[in-house]
């Protein structure tokens, strides 16, 4: 009898799984291309002559890259100063947000106190208020405190967040009560427990919070624009970029080079914290 060519159920299943995998990769690749294409175009355009950028269709590869647009952006746009200011503002905000969120999240997760639920809901409610609603009040507050055009004015309104508190509370709630009690019997008080047990266990969530907080403060535009004066003593890089664009209207490649420079710290951060970020986002989703 000639050998039959029939596929066994096992091989059919295997080929199904394979084709699903291929489809998944195709879709992911497509998504990645759509997301990355504008970034690629920005990088390419930053290396072209302004006349080439205006050309239709614009070239997708710089045959004669103009590296000097980067040095011009750096010097003409005072990007060094702006980057420094952004770094200081971001460091203040990230540190503040992580510290306040960890402490508040710990209180909501582990301590018993009057009106805990009401207070927590109030914290959550702040997530529904757009920043634009509070911007005028915040501005007049920091001005009357004498913090206009200072790092304090840039950072203080952002030192505590409802989102961070919520994230940390959820992370701490994952820690079994028995651990808290075991530590208590081992002689560790609340803060010692927080420092030695809770924080190490909540590290992925803390890293995720730090990254989110970094991203949002680094990318701030409206607040630094309003809260700083025209000298660039504390102005941040996003505003610096806008000014670069205004002063170099005919040099769009220089502005784009500045943008690429401003993005580099974010890329570095994302590469370093990628794993933590994904873990933090999905932490607690499945028990």
């Amino acid at each position: 009898m000639p050998p039959t060519d029939l596929k066994t159920p096992a091989t059919t299943r295997k080929s199904h799984r394979r084709s699903r995998l291929i489809l998944r990769y195709v879709l992911l690749t497509l998504g990645a291309v759509i997301v990355l294409f504008p970034v690629y175009v920005a990088i390419v355009n930053s290396l072209l002559e302004p006349s080439q950028i205006a050309h239709q269709p614009p070239p997708l590869f710089p045959l004669h890259p103009q590296w000097n647009s980067y040095s011009r952006a750096w010097s003409q746009g005072s990007l060094g100063i702006y980057l420094r200011n952004s770094a200081i503002q971001t460091a203040l905000i990230v540190t503040g947000q992580v510290a306040t969120s960890v402490l508040a999240g710990f209180a909501f997760a582990f301590l018993a106190f009057p009106f805990k639920r009401t207070l927590f809901i109030t914290f959550l409610a702040t997530l529904m208020i757009p920043f634009e609603v509070t911007v005028t009040t915040n501005l007049s507050t920091i001005t009357s405190l004498g913090w206009f055009n200072s790092y304090a004015g840039l950072a203080v309104p952002f030192l505590a967040t409802g989102f961070g508190t919520f994230l940390m509370r959820q992370a701490f709630l994952q820690i079994p009560r028995d651990l808290r009690e075991a530590a208590e019997l081992d002689g560790y008080g609340r803060l010692a427990f927080l420092w030695r047990v809770a924080i190490p266990l909540a590290r992925p969530a803390i890293a995720a919070l730090a990254v989110f907080s970094f991203l949002s403060s680094w990318n701030q535009y409206l607040w630094p624009l309003l809260a700083t004066g025209n000298d660039n003593s504390v102005r941040t890089v996003q505003i610096g970029l806008k000014q670069l664009l205004n002063t170099q209207l005919d040099q769009i490649n220089v502005s784009l080079a500045g943008t690429v420079i401003a993005v580099v710290p974010l890329i570095v951060l994302l590469v370093i914290f990628q794993k933590q970020l994904v873990r933090g986002l999905t932490a607690g989703a499945v028990k």
Binding site: D178, L179, E181, G187, Y188
Partner: protein
Amino acid sequence: MASVTFSGVTKRFDDVVAVNALDLEVADGELLVLLGPSGCGKTTALRMVAGLEEVTDGDLAIGDLRVNDLAPKDRDVAMVFQSYALYPHMTVQRNIEFPLKRQGVAAAERSSRVLEAATTLGLDELLERKPGQLSGGQRQRVALARAIVRAPRVFLMDEPLSNLDATLRVQTRSDIVAIQRRLGTTTIYVTHDQVEAMTMGHRIAVMRNGALEQVASPTDLYDRPATAFVASFLGSPGMNLLAATGFTGHDGTPGLRAAGAELPWPDGFSRQPSGDVTLGFRPEAASLGSEGLDARIILVERLGAETHLICSLADGERVVVRQRDRQSSHQISDHVRIRIDTDQIHLFDAESGLRLGEGT
């Protein structure tokens, strides 16, 4: 080391009374088992000793010191949790030395004490592992090591074996007993498993609905249960309990009528004026014979060394008969007669469930 004394200790959660006026003394060096069904208040009693629950009423003392208002860390007690409660981010070594660090024990002494505790429990090869890399039994032993390394005045154990498989449970049970006997540390051990209680405790305190039913040595508890509840809770299977009525025969001798059969009034129990009593006998005090209670076998459990015959009496009540005979030929639906050894009968008040007084 120290004794632990409950004097009228009560714990209320809002309207619920979890522990009700508990009077109990755990002697210095004793292993006392708190035994009872879930929700009986045994874990709450243990947690009050640890300081993890506040005492609502009454006095709780460790040694001569009243500890009602003392923080857990100042009580010098170590607890082993049902969930082990190991710190997942620390190695076995660091888990065990965690309490010592807080006490300010010098590094050199710390590592020698950790090594000693680890060796006692056979963990010396695993010191660099993290809890996630250990089996359930190993984790349990780390939890024990963390408790013994402190040399506390009292050990508190909250169902420490309930997450282990049957074989490991028997092994760890004897390990705990051996360690406790060697160290002589006062220990309160909470369990709902009466086999654990019988095999481990110097004494057993049986609790029910927040109150103490009886505290006695395992054999006393088995041989002379103070209440019908203790009688039915202890033993595997527990004591058979039947409604019975006392009567006086024509010749004036007292007797007992249960499930349609008549028995002589057992020696050692005072007569009840009302006549209604609960008759108790252990499965091994019953045997099949030519006379006795009429019954039908509804289930035969062959355990190897012995056989349990679960029988239904005429009025529907269930009685278990334990047979040493492994070749028992009885089958489901067989009609049999159950003979009760009158020397091994227990009588309880039908209303209160209390054991009838001794005497005639």
